[in-house]
């Protein structure tokens, strides 16, 4: 498997997993009245300020044969976690967590509380209110979360290097591949991959900002009214 498709597979897996984990966390952060909420908020935001090497280092320790996660994995599946694709996914999920949770939380918080009250008074429980009111009204936030965690995972380097260990076809992602090519003075190959990554990143950001500026809204509305 070449490094680009490996990166894409990693990014898609991480984005999907993050959406599933991120939604309940963001929901809780948006609607809980607990005073200690700031603690969880800080934990979620940690990967934003930590160097990837710090995160990667602890991820490696945890996943190693003597780390808690690594030992659990050996008991369950008979092999370790470090230097595997699964290990890479796990570390990336932690590293990209804020990129999924923040946009979800912001868009959940933006939903008028009166709409939630109205829904409850019409007999809807929390789950139905979430599914029919909160989620549809937060669609731009959901798309932003999905795309940002995808893009952030695609571009990560430090964590992947620490946890993945640069095994071709298993853990060598495109960002590491570029680094390798430069080290080997293969500038043409490096440039090829770098340009590709640049183009993908730009397209993704264009999409996110267009969604949030509701560039396609008139088209959606026209379609929905039919």
């Amino acid at each position: 498997m070449n490094s680009l498709s490996l990166s894409l597979e990693l990014a898609v897996s991480v984005a999907v997993i993050l959406l599933m984990i991120g939604m309940p966390v963001a929901y809780w952060l948006a609607f809980s009245n607990w005073r200690g909420k700031f603690l969880l908020e800080s934990v979620v935001a940690l990967p934003l300020v930590l160097p990837p090497t710090v995160l990667g280092f602890y991820a490696l320790l945890a996943m190693g044969p003597r780390g808690p996660l690594g030992r659990l994995w050996i008991v369950l599946f008979g092999h370790g976690l470090a230097f595997t694709f699964t290990g890479l996914v796990l570390a990336s999920v932690v590293y990209s967590f804020p990129f999924a949770v923040q946009p979800l939380m912001v868009s959940f918080e933006a939903v008028d509380r009166k709409l939630l009250d109205a829904s409850a008074l019409l007999g809807a429980g929390k789950w139905r209110t979430f599914r029919r009111i909160v989620l549809p009204m937060s669609l731009p936030g959901v798309i932003t979360a999905l795309v940002l965690s995808f893009a952030h995972t695609l571009g990560e380097f430090g964590v992947v290097l620490m946890v993945g260990g640069n095994l071709a076809g298993v853990t060598r992602t495109v960002s590491i591949d570029i680094y390798d090519r430069v080290q080997a003075l293969e500038y043409g190959e490096a440039n090829h991959l770098a340009l590709l990554l640049l183009a993908i990143a730009f397209a993704v950001l264009c999409f996110v900002y267009a969604v949030n500026r509701r560039v396609w809204m008139p088209a959606w509305k026209g379609w929905a009214a039919k």
Binding site: D112, K114, L115, D117, A118, S119, A120, L121, L122, G123, A124, G125, R132, I133, P136, M137, K221, A225
Partner: protein
């Protein structure tokens, strides 16, 4: 969901402290039988807090709320039914229509434990009753204010609630539209007969709806009864202002004439004296007098042979046309506001500075606390 039509009264007796608003305490006991009961009072009186408590959005500190035999809240027994299980409809001032759903989807939102056929029939029936069937595929952002209000009412009533709470749902509509919507609401409730608690501080709406009024001020029920009894003789200053008494003046008691059931008072900082109904007061007590601008007569010559006991001489300070009504401010030592018709202004040739006489019936002068 049962389809039985329950017409049980709401009985609430609750106390709720609001920490965010200084030391505000809501402490009320009230009963609302089937039909419309108006909650009237100045803003900040606690009307919306009361509705929030009844709906279950806010938990009272102590007390009990029940609809008929069904207890919704009882602090002593730790009962607090969540809002989604109360079967209470609540139309907010902001209406809170779901912006991403069409009118029809909004109305159908609360119906789910019924068959598809029953659901369609009920939605159709109420869309017709509230005259919004033509708008079924529109989003809330595409319809007018009055249509939004109709949609919000329909959405709440289609669920067959046991109680309807309305928090100034018709603010910002013109009188004609208001009357039309209220007419449809009345017609709908004629068959169902559920209690409706209707919050407003518009005198117009009270007169259009009025069966019963509960006046609330500063977290307490200050009076209740027929609209005329409650609002035409308010016993509190803030309520008098809210009920549209434009003249609220401080005066001092001069003498009591108990056999006649009247007393004379002098307005503070003036020589102007009038006769008002007797109240529990002694000579030289301070009192507040409330008079409606519409209860004051204006004459361009000194009137004779009237039953009215108070005739005051004064000068017009200003005349201002407001719609089909003219507001005259008259200086008689104290300033009175009187409402007259533009026709009367022309007939009496009223202009600024002109000398006029004000005529006040004794019983148009209300004493308030």
């Amino acid at each position: 969901m049962g389809s039985e039509v329950s017409s049980c009264p709401l009985v609430a007796s609750i106390k709720k402290e609001r920490r965010d608003a200084g030391s505000f305490v809501l402490d009320v006991s009230l009963e609302a039988p089937p039909g419309i009961t108006i909650l009237f009072g100045p803003s900040g009186a606690g009307k919306s807090t009361l509705l929030d408590c009844v709906a279950g959005l806010v938990s009272p500190n102590t007390g009990k709320i029940a609809i008929g035999e069904s207890v919704l809240f009882d602090a002593a027994r730790s009962i607090d039914v969540p809002p989604q299980k109360r079967r209470i409809a609540y139309v907010f001032q902001t209406l809170a229509l779901f912006p991403h759903l069409t009118v029809e989807q909004n109305v159908a939102y609360g119906l789910r434990d019924t068959s598809e056929r029953d659901r369609r029939r009920r939605v159709e029936e109420i869309l017709e009753a509230f005259r919004i069937a033509d708008l079924r595929n529109q989003k809330p952002s595409q319809i007018s204010g009055g249509e939004k209000q109709r949609t919000a009412l329909a959405r709440s009533l289609v669920t067959q609630p046991r109680l309807l709470l309305l928090d100034e749902p018709l603010t910002g509509l013109d009188a004609e539209l208001k009357a039309a919507i209220l007419g449809d609401l009345r017609a709908w409730n004629a068959a169902k007969r559920i209690p409706i608690l209707y919050v407003t501080h518009s005198r117009e709406e009270v007169d259009a709806l009025g069966e019963r009024v509960i006046a609330i001020d500063n977290g307490r029920v200050v009076s209740h009864g027929a609209p005329m009894d409650v609002l035409d003789a308010p016993r509190r200053k803030r309520l008098a202002l809210a009920a549209g008494f434009e003249n609220l003046l401080s005066a001092t008691v001069l003498d009591l004439r108990e056999p006649d059931g009247v007393m004379r008072v002098r307005f503070n900082e003036s020589k102007c004296e009038i006769e008002v109904p007797l109240a529990h007061a002694s000579v030289s007590d301070g009192v507040q007098i409330a008079i409606r601008a519409g209860d004051i007569l204006l004459a361009s010559q000194r009137p004779h042979g009237l039953s009215a006991r108070n005739v005051l001489e004064g000068k017009i300070l200003s005349l201002e046309q407001r719609g089909t009504m003219c507001v005259a401010r008259v200086d008689c030592g104290v300033t009175f506001v009187a409402h007259i018709t533009p026709g009367a202004v022309r007939a009496l040739e009223l202009v600024k500075e002109k000398q006029v006489w004000l005529v006040l019936k004794t019983h148009s002068c209300h004493l308030v606390d």
